[in-house]
Symmetry: C2
Subunit: 133 residues, 2 copies
DNA sequence: CCGTATCCTGTGGGATACTG
DNA sequence: CAGTATCCCACAGGATACGG
C-alpha cells in the first residue's frame, strides 16, 4: 500500500478509510460488481447483459451502466443500425477491477455455507451466546 | 454441501453469481468492510471502534457488529467489570476477508483520482459523448 | 461505558407502461 | 432492441433519548 505517497499530514489509515468508503459507495451497490464480472470476457449487448445478470430490472441495469460509464469503468458503443445495437465493455480501468471481483466470488463460494450455518445457529437456538446483547 | 460434486445441472457461472450477490449483500453495506479492516490488527472496544470508524453512528455500529457476529466474522467478548468493557475481534473466518479488504483499499487509493476526473468530465462538459442516451 | 428504543428521512430498487 | 418515465414501497441509516 502506497505509504510512500507523500501524505503530508494525513495519516495513512485515514486516507485508506476514505478510499474504501469511496470505492464501496461506487461499486458496493447491488449490481455493479456483477456487471463488471459479467463483462470480464467480452463486450455484451444490453439484452445479453440483462439475461446474464439474472434478476436485474431494466431500470437498475440502465442506472448501473450509466454510473459505471460516468466513472470510466465501462464503455458504451452504439451501432447505427436497424434494429439498434449497443454494446457495453470494460475499459482498461474497469479491467483492473476484475481480479477483485473474482477474488470476492471465490471467497463467497468458499465460505458462504459456513456463514449460513453460523447465522442459522444464531437465529434459532442462540445455543452458545450466554451474554446476549 | 459437497462442492466436489460436479455442479449437477447448475452452471458454475450461476453459482458464482449467486455467491457474489450473497457476499455483497452481507459485507457490501456502508460499514462492514470498514469495521473488518479496522479490526484486522487486534480486538477493539466499542468506543475505540466508534472513534476509529469515523462517521458511524452508535446505532449503525451496533447493527453492523450484530450482523457480523451472526455471520461468524466477528467475536464479542464482554468482561464482567465496572465499568463494563466489551471487545470485538475477528474470527478466523473474518480474518480470511482481510486480504480482500486490503486489496479493495489498494485499488481505491490507486484509482479514485482517475475515477473522479472521469466523472467530473462527464458531469460538466460531456465533451466527448456525441450519442448521449 | 455500552448499548437499546423510537422516530424520521432519503433513496435504492422493483413493476409497469410508454418511446425512438 | 434499447432504453425512459412514473409510481411506490422497503429499508438503510442518522438523531435523539433512555436503560443496565
Amino acid at each position: 500500500m502506497a505509504e510512500v505517497t507523500p501524505g503530508a499530514g494525513v495519516p495513512p489509515r485515514i486516507r485508506e478509510r476514505g478510499a474504501v468508503r469511496e470505492v464501496l459507495d461506487r461499486v458496493g451497490d447491488k449490481w455493479s460488481m456483477l456487471v463488471i464480472g459479467t463483462l470480464r470476457a467480452d463486450p455484451l449487448r444490453f439484452g445479453e447483459l440483462e439475461q446474464a445478470t439474472a434478476g436485474v430490472s431494466q431500470r437498475m441495469l440502465t442506472l448501473t451502466l450509466r454510473r459505471l460509464i460516468e466513472d470510466g469503468l465501462v464503455t458504451r458503443t452504439a451501432f447505427a443500425e436497424v434494429p439498434p445495437r449497443v454494446e457495453y465493455g470494460l475499459t482498461d480501468l474497469g479491467r483492473t477491477l476484475v481480479p477483485l471481483v473474482m477474488a470476492l466470488a471465490e471467497w463467497a463460494m468458499a465460505h458462504h455455507e459456513q456463514i449460513n450455518a453460523h447465522r442459522s445457529r444464531h437465529r434459532s437456538g442462540t445455543a452458545d451466546a450466554p451474554s446476549r446483547p
